[in-house]
C-alpha cells in the first residue's frame, strides 16, 4: 500500500508541473498590472516603472517564470506582492483555517446524508423517499451565500445565540473558536448533504436491483442485514468518489462562506489575490490546490480497498 501511495504521489509530479506552467502564464494573460494596483491613484509613470522594476515585473515573462520555478524547486513559493509575506506559510496558515470548517462539515454531511440516501432508496417512492429527495433538491438549489446570510440573521442577529462577525482561532480560545465555526460549518453541511443524499440514493438503488440482492432476499435475510451487509459496501463506492471530489473542491476554497462569515481561509486569500493580481499568491494557491486534489484522491483510492477488496492497491 505504501508503494502504491508513493507511486501515486510521484505520478502527480507531471500534473503539478503542468499546473505550475499553465497558471503562471494564464494569470499573466489576464489584464491588470499588480504594480498599478499597489500604487492606487498615487505616483506617476516613473514611480510605477520603479515599482515594477522592484517587483521584477519589468523582466520578460520567461525570465520571471525561470526565477519563480527555480525558487519553487527549493521550496520557496515567493513573496506576496500585496502584503509582503512569504507565500507558503501564508497558504498553510489560511488552509488550516479552511480545514476547520470543511472537515467537520463533510464528516457531518456524510454521517447524515449517506444513511438518508440509503433509507430513501430502501423506501423508494414512499413519503420518506419523496421528503428526503425534496429536502435534498431544496438544499441544492439554495445558494450558499444566501443560506449563510439567512442563518447569520436568524441565529446571530435575531436570536443572538451565535456570534455574527469575526473569527477566533481555536488555538487561542477553543470554546470561543468553536462558537464562531458553528454557522459556517452548518451552512456548508446543509449545502453538501443534498448532493450526497442524491448520490447515495442513486447508487443504493442500483445495487438493490442486482441479482445477488434478490438472492439474499430469497435466502430470507432481513432488510436491515441486506442493506448493511450486502448493499452499503457496494453502493458506497460512487459516493466515496463524490466525497473525494467534494472534499478536494471545498479544501481548495470556500470563498463565499469565508467572506460571509469573515473567516480568513484559503478561498478568501485566493479571491483577494486574484483581485490584486498578486501573482505569487495565485500561483502558490493553485499549485497547493492541485496537490490537495492529488492527496485527497489518493486517500479515496486507498479507502476503496477497504470497502471493496477487489480493488487492489499493490
Amino acid at each position: 500500500m505504501l508503494r502504491f501511495a508513493f507511486g501515486r504521489i510521484l505520478s502527480a509530479i507531471p500534473t503539478l508541473l503542468i499546473v505550475s506552467v499553465t497558471v503562471f502564464f494564464l494569470i499573466r494573460l489576464v489584464p491588470g498590472d499588480p504594480a498599478a494596483l499597489l500604487m492606487g491613484d498615487h505616483g506617476d509613470a516613473a514611480a510605477l516603472a520603479e515599482l515594477r522594476e522592484r517587483l521584477g515585473l519589468d523582466q520578460s515573462v520567461l525570465t520571471q517564470f525561470r526565477i519563480w520555478f527555480f525558487n519553487l524547486l527549493s521550496g520557496d513559493f515567493g513573496t506576496s506582492i500585496w502584503i509582503g509575506d512569504p507565500v507558503l506559510p501564508l497558504i498553510l496558515q489560511r488552509f488550516m483555517v479552511s480545514v476547520q470548517v470543511v472537515i467537520p462539515a463533510v464528516i457531518f454531511a456524510t454521517l447524515v446524508a449517506v444513511p438518508a440516501g440509503i433509507l430513501a432508496a430502501a423506501r423508494q417512492n414512499s413519503a420518506v423517499d419523496v421528503s428526503l429527495i425534496s429536502i435534498a433538491t431544496l438544499l441544492l438549489s439554495v445558494p450558499t451565500f444566501w443560506l449563510g446570510l439567512l442563518l447569520l440573521l436568524v441565529f446571530g442577529l435575531h436570536l443572538g445565540w451565535l456570534p455574527v462577525v469575526g473569527y477566533v482561532s481555536m488555538r487561542t480560545d477553543f470554546v470561543g473558536g468553536l462558537l464562531y465555526l458553528v454557522l459556517p460549518v452548518v451552512t456548508l453541511f446543509l449545502h453538501e448533504i443534498g448532493t450526497i443524499i442524491r448520490m447515495s440514493r442513486a447508487s443504493t438503488l442500483e445495487v438493490l436491483g442486482l441479482d445477488y440482492i434478490t438472492h439474499a432476499r430469497a435466502k430470507g435475510l432481513s432488510e436491515g442485514m441486506i442493506l448493511w451487509r450486502h448493499t452499503f459496501k457496494n453502493a458506497f463506492g460512487p459516493t466515496l468518489t463524490l466525497l473525494g471530489l467534494i472534499l478536494g473542491n471545498l479544501l481548495s476554497g470556500i470563498a463565499v462562506i469565508e467572506t460571509v462569515f469573515t473567516i480568513p481561509g484559503l478561498g478568501r486569500l485566493m479571491v483577494d489575490a486574484i483581485y490584486a493580481r498578486d501573482y505569487p499568491v495565485i500561483q502558490g494557491c493553485m499549485l497547493f490546490i492541485a496537490f490537495i486534489y492529488v492527496l485527497v484522491n489518493l486517500c479515496i483510492d486507498l479507502l476503496y480497498s477497504f470497502f471493496d477488496p477487489k480493488v487492489v492497491t499493490q
Binding site: D33, A36, H42
Partner: protein, 514 residues
C-alpha cells in the same frame, strides 16, 4: 477552594466585561497591507496608522496644515528654511521622551532607499522638493532646509499616504534593521495584528493631547483616546457589516450609498454621510477620438444635468462640484463654484457643429461597492443618449480599468480619486504631458504652466489666483467632467459619541461608547 474558584471566575468575568465595554470595534473591508508608514501603503493602513503615529505637522479639517508634534513652525522669508519646535512632555508609546534626534533617525530611515518609503522621491529633488539639510541644534528643535522655495513643503510632510512623515522610535526596528511594529506618539498604541482577522490598538495612557478646547480638527486638534481599545475587524462583505452593526458586534462601519435608505430612521442607529476631498469623475482620455475635440467635450458637459446625476449616484448625499478643489477646502472660492450650465440644446448644436455622426463613446466603469463608478456611468449614459450621443457602458474589473486609465486607453472612465492635501497635488494627478505619462488627462501647456507656478508661488493670495485661473481654463477646455466630492456613508449605534470620521478614514480619538 470553591470560594476561590468563584472569586476568580467573577473577577475574570468583570475584567472581560470591562474590556468589552471599552473596546470599539470598527470594520475594515480588507486587511492592512502594512504597519510601516508610507511603505506598501493603502487607505486602510493610512487610516489606522494615523491613530498611532504623528508627524511634526498635520492636516486640519479644511486640509490646511497646522503643527502637530511641533508646538510652532517658523518659516523663513525665502520659504526655504523651516524650523520646528517640539511640544513639551511628548512621550513615545514605550515611555521614552520625544526629541529631535528621533525625528532625524526617522527622516534618515524614510530617505534610505532600502526603506521603500513611497514619498522619498518627493523630497530628494527628483519630483517636488529637495531637502538639502536636516539639523537638530537642540533636543527640541528640527531645522529643515530645501533647495528652492516651496509653499507645499509642509503639506508634503503631513500627507497621510506618507504616514505623515511620523516620528518613530528607533525600537520600531530590530537590531538587524528589520521593521517590527510602529512605536509612535499617537493617542493609541500598537497591540496585536492577527492577519486576515483584526488589528487591535490600545489607548496610550500617557498621551499628551493638544487642547484645542477639546475639539478634534482633522489630524490635529484635541486627540484624547476615550475608549480602552480599538479593534479593526476585517469584514469584506457589506451585508455582514450591517448584520454586525445591528447585533452590536461592530460599532462603526462603512456602507454603500444604495443601502442608506434602510437606516435613515432607526432609533438605535446613526447614519453619517461624510463628504471627503476625493473626487468622482468622468475621466476623459483627451487624446483619443472623439474626445480630442473640445466641442465634443463641451457638449458632454452641457448634456449632463449635474444636480440630477449627483443626486442619483450618491443617493442624495453628494454636492455637485466641478472643481478639482473640494468644497470644504480653504482654497474653495466662488470661482471654483462655477460650472457649465445644463443645456441639452446647446449640447446638440455643439455636436452638430463638431460633425459628430453617432460614433460610439464608451464609459468604462467598475462595480466596486464603495464608489459610485457604475451608478454615475449609468445616469451619465442616459443623459448623453438624450442629446444624441451614442454612449455605451463597459463594466470592467477594477484592475483592468486602472490599467487602461494609466495607459491612456479608452474614452471615458468613471473613476474615483482619493483626496490630496494641497490643490497642487490634485492638479498633478491630472495635468501633464501624455508622452511622459499617458495617465495624465490634460496636457494643455497653459494648464501645465499654471500648475508648475502653483508649486513655487509662496504668496497664498497669488496661489489662489492660480487655482482660480486653472479652474476657469478647465471650464473652457473641459478635460473631464468632475461630478462631486466623494461621500462616505457610515453606520454606528447611537451610543457612539463624537465625530468618528475625517475624510475617508475612521478617526476614533475623542470618540466614546456610552
Amino acid at each position: 477552594m470553591k470560594h476561590l474558584l468563584l472569586t476568580t471566575v467573577a473577577t475574570l468575568a468583570l475584567a472581560g466585561a470591562a474590556q468589552a465595554q471599552s473596546t470599539l470595534n470598527v470594520s475594515l473591508n480588507a486587511d492592512l497591507r502594512t504597519n510601516d508608514p508610507g511603505v506598501n501603503r493603502d487607505g486602510n493602513s493610512d487610516g489606522l496608522l494615523m491613530h498611532i503615529l504623528e508627524g511634526l505637522v498635520g492636516a486640519r479639517n479644511d486640509m490646511s496644515i497646522a503643527p502637530m508634534l511641533a508646538e510652532k513652525v517658523d518659516v523663513s522669508d525665502d520659504f526655504k528654511t523651516f524650523t520646528f519646535v517640539l511640544r513639551d512632555g511628548l512621550k513615545f508609546h514605550n515611555g521614552a521622551s520625544v526629541t529631535s534626534a528621533e525625528f532625524l533617525w526617522s527622516w534618515n530611515r524614510y530617505m534610505d532607499p532600502a526603506t521603500q518609503w513611497s514619498c522619498r522621491a518627493d523630497f530628494d529633488g527628483s519630483r517636488v522638493v529637495e531637502v538639502t539639510s536636516v539639523e537638530t541644534p537642540d533636543p527640541k528643535t528640527v531645522v529643515m532646509t530645501i533647495a528652492e522655495p516651496s509653499p507645499v513643503f509642509l503639506a508634503l510632510l503631513a500627507r497621510p499616504e506618507c504616514g505623515q512623515t511620523a516620528i518613530l522610535h528607533p525600537d520600531s526596528v530590530d537590531d538587524s534593521g528589520k521593521y517590527q511594529f510602529p512605536i509612535g506618539t499617537g493617542p493609541f498604541k500598537w497591540q496585536e495584528w492577527r492577519k486576515g482577522e483584526y488589528v487591535q490598538l490600545e489607548a496610550f495612557a500617557d498621551y499628551v493631547s493638544p487642547s484645542n478646547e477639546g475639539t478634534a480638527d482633522g489630524l490635529v486638534g484635541n486627540k484624547d483616546p476615550l475608549v480602552g481599545f480599538l479593534r479593526y475587524m476585517v469584514v469584506p462583505d457589506g451585508a455582514t457589516v450591517i448584520a454586525g452593526i445591528r447585533s452590536g458586534a461592530i460599532h462603526f462601519g462603512s456602507i454603500a450609498a444604495e443601502q442608506i435608505d434602510e437606516f435613515r430612521d432607526i432609533p438605535t442607529l446613526q447614519l453619517l454621510n461624510v463628504p471627503t476631498g476625493g473626487h468622482n469623475i468622468l475621466y476623459f482620455q483627451t487624446r483619443n477620438t472623439p474626445l480630442d475635440n473640445v466641442e465634443i467635450r463641451r457638449a458632454i458637459a452641457e448634456a449632463i444635468d449635474l444636480d440630477q446625476l449627483v443626486a442619483a449616484a450618491s443617493n442624495g448625499t453628494g454636492t455637485p462640484n466641478m472643481s478639482l478643489i473640494p468644497v470644504g477646502s480653504s482654497w474653495y472660492s466662488d470661482i471654483q463654484a462655477q460650472r457649465p450650465a445644463y443645456d441639452p440644446e446647446s449640447a446638440k448644436a455643439r455636436l452638430a457643429a463638431a460633425g459628430y455622426k453617432g460614433e460610439p463613446i464608451t464609459i468604462k466603469a467598475n462595480r466596486r461597492g464603495n464608489v459610485p463608478s457604475y451608478p454615475a456611468a449609468i445616469v451619465a449614459q442616459a443623459m448623453l443618449q438624450a442629446v444624441g450621443i451614442n454612449a455605451q457602458i463597459e463594466v470592467l474589473d477594477f484592475a483592468i480599468q486602472t490599467d487602461q486609465r494609466r495607459e491612456g486607453l479608452g474614452q471615458i472612465s468613471s473613476v474615483s480619486v482619493t483626496p490630496r492635501l494641497d490643490p497642487s497635488f490634485t492638479y498633478t494627478f491630472f495635468i501633464g504631458n501624455k508622452d511622459d505619462d499617458p495617465s495624465r488627462m490634460w496636457e494643455d501647456p497653459r494648464a501645465i504652466e499654471l500648475m508648475d507656478r502653483s508649486y513655487v508661488e509662496t504668496d497664498p493670495d497669488k496661489r489662489q489666483q492660480i487655482f482660480d485661473e486653472l479652474h476657469l481654463l478647465m471650464m473652457e477646455e473641459v478635460p473631464s467632467v468632475f461630478i462631486y466630492n466623494m461621500v462616505y456613508n457610515w453606520l454606528a449605534p447611537k451610543s457612539l459619541t463624537g465625530m468618528p470620521v475625517w475624510e475617508s478614514y475612521p478617526r476614533l480619538w475623542n470618540v466614546a461608547l456610552d
